[in-house]
């Protein structure tokens, strides 16, 4: 472990280093992750306490809108983690672009952190989280959620082993790493498709119940993941003066642009087909209109389309030789994808299945309207706090950017 800590100084930009007085503690820019993590943990603590002691009662979730903020964020995290790793693994092992190998430990560790956060969120969304093991012991493989849990857990296991071998497996372990990387591809693809199928197979919700939804999940995951990979490249590439760095940034910028355009194009085709007069299922049209023109129209048009697609595209297509700008574009694109998953989950559930049911029996938990409340945001902050701390401490104490790791892949 000792050699793992040593080379970290070279990873941080020199201008961001400063020596704290007397303690010997050297602040690195990556420490910002655990500092933000601690802040989020504090912000989210009371919400988490409520979640533990009172269950799901303090949330704004209802029986008519049983999934909300947390499920939306779970899907977002799956898109990010799996999408980025699929692109990364494909570029190294299928396309053969070995230049990216240097950031492999960081990419894997980012994936591990995000996978862990995703599992934690989905665990907290259960009415009986203490029974999570039932999915392992009493699985029904006819359910998409069973597949999701099994694939997600397998994916986490693959990531942990792969990361451990990359960090400490030496040259001998790299062959296994390669096979694990190959294995992670079908498992990751299946996880994304299954995540989409969770919604796609629900015949009761017409906007979800389309064969195209799992494929849309895949396209979106690749776009979101590509953005994240681009961001990680800009943040963690060691020698930012090298030609390789600029070439990789340019390449990933193009790839991200293509995937963003493909995603928007595919979504546009699907939406216009649904909205075409005379061809639409009314419930499907209502749910789609809620996304496009409902009270939270801005989350789709402003957050996703403008900030997540148009501005990043403008930068990526015109300034791919300016890594800092590219980094901003990648940050915007990768973070705003959450608007898409939230818009997939919530508006469909808010659209009533039976007219008049909402007023048939009035109770706060039989309310067809849903806006996440502060407790839900606090729990989310707590989970991101845990993620931030894991990530920040990992970047500080694990040899994620050390020379020997990079050399082992060269």
């Amino acid at each position: 472990m000792a050699q793992a800590v040593q080379p970290q100084e070279s990873a941080a930009p020199p201008q961001k280093l400063r020596q704290s007085s007397g303690s010997g503690f050297v602040f690195r820019w990556t420490d910002i992750f655990w500092i933000i993590g601690v802040i989020l943990l504090v912000i989210g603590a009371s919400g988490m306490w409520q979640r533990i002691t009172e269950g799901l009662a303090p949330t704004n979730l209802t029986s008519y809108v049983p999934w909300g903020l947390w499920v939306g964020f779970y899907d977002y995290l799956v898109w990010m983690e799996v999408g980025s790793l699929i692109i990364f693994t494909s570029m190294i092992y299928i396309i053969g672009d070995k230049r990216l190998a240097g950031i492999k430990p960081v990419v894997l560790f980012t994936g591990f952190t995000v996978v862990t956060m995703g599992l934690l969120i989905v665990l907290l969304d259960l009415g009986h989280p203490e029974r999570f093991w039932h999915v392992i012991v009493y699985p029904d493989f006819g359910s998409m959620i069973t597949w999701m849990v099994w694939l997600h857990s397998s994916y986490l296991l693959i990531l942990i082993v792969e990361l451990a071998l990359v960090l400490w497996g030496g040259k001998r372990g790299q062959r296994i790493v390669q096979w694990l990387a190959y294995l992670s591809l079908p498992v990751g693809l299946a996880l994304i498709i299954v995540s989409g199928s969770i919604f796609g197979v629900v015949a009761a919700r017409p906007l979800w119940n389309t064969a195209s939804l799992p494929l849309m999940f895949l396209i979106s995951a690749l776009a979101a993941g590509s953005s994240l990979l681009l961001l990680l490249t800009v943040l963690f590439w060691k020698d930012k003066t090298s030609e390789d760095y600029h070439a990789v940034v340019k390449r990933l910028s193009r790839l991200t642009s293509v995937l963003l355009i493909t995603g928007v194009f595919a979504a546009g085709v699907i939406a216009s087909t649904i909205l075409y007069k005379g061809s639409g299922n009314p419930s499907r049209v209502d749910a789609l209109n809620l996304i496009l023109t409902g009270p939270y129209w801005w989350s789709f048009w402003v957050v996703h389309i403008l900030m997540g697609v148009l501005i990043p595209l403008a930068i990526l297509l015109n300034a791919s030789d300016k890594p800092r700008l590219v980094g901003i574009a990648a940050f915007l694109s990768s973070t705003t994808f959450v608007a898409v998953t939230l818009n997939i989950v919530i508006p469909v559930l808010v659209t009533p299945e039976l007219e008049g049911l909402a007023t048939a029996f009035v109770d706060p938990k039989l309310n067809p309207n849903y806006v996440p409340n502060s407790m839900e945001w606090m729990v989310l902050a707590f989970v991101f706090g845990i993620g931030g701390i894991i990530y920040g401490l990992g970047l500080r104490f694990l040899p994620l950017q050390s020379r020997h790791v990079e050399e082992s892949h060269d």
Binding site: A57, S63, Y64, D140, A360, D363
Partner: protein, 302 residues
Amino acid sequence: MPEINDAQQSRRNFLKMLAGTGGAAAVLPVVDAFAADPEAVLAKLVQQTTASDNIDFSELDVLERMRFELLRALQKTPAERRWVMVIDLRKCVGCHSCTVACIAENKLPPGVVYRPVIEEEIGEYPNVARRFVPRPCMQCDNPPCVPVCPVDATYTNEEGIVEMNYERCIGCRYCLTACPYSARTSDFGYTYTQGNANGDGFILGSDIAENYERAANFEYGKQYPRDEGRNSPIGNARKCHFCQHRFLNGQLPACVTTCIGRATLFGDANDPDSLVASLIASPNVMRLREELGTEPRVYYLV
């Protein structure tokens, strides 16, 4: 002479009729025996008259007829029975007594409802009418809520009732999203008495109310006390089960017995002589969202 109410009169007629069709027992001894042990007498009479085609139900309250048919159905093996509910929308007056009875029977907490009554206004002035549509669980033959459960916590039992295994349910609420009728609700753990003002000697009855609310219900033939913890059914998906714990003991579902207009009917559709079997063969019958292929077992007469 003590006054005999309609129900007693009806029961007496029923017993007379049964005795007549049985051809053996004298009326009065039967009445006395009925008062002592009604279940045993009814079961015996049902056995004696199962093969009879000559029962005239026209003088009876449909509740008596359905109870008779229920007991007859219980003589069969579970797989031979097909429980259905028929709701006559022309008779429903929107009193919500079925909703209330269901809540009382199953001790449902706030936010959990098995049988709301949807109220709709139809037409435009001056041609306006109101329609009331009770919506229990449809006990679908192809229930979309069952295959989505990741732990087999919900399943169709051998007589077609979609059941919940509260001990196994993890509370993922996938079944809530999959039900096209929104017939499942999540138990978030509330009680009606929580947060109420309390004070010994000042507020009378609050302890009793709370104790009542914490006492067990009898869903699925088990007891689920609502204690201070977060044990099942808190955190679970919950749903109507046609009061299975009642009908397996010879009692009609609570919503059926309390329907003032006799709009909700229940029975074994596999019994060709049953009331429900004859009603679901009428041309004015419909089921909700049939286009989804769920094959609901709740039929509406319109």
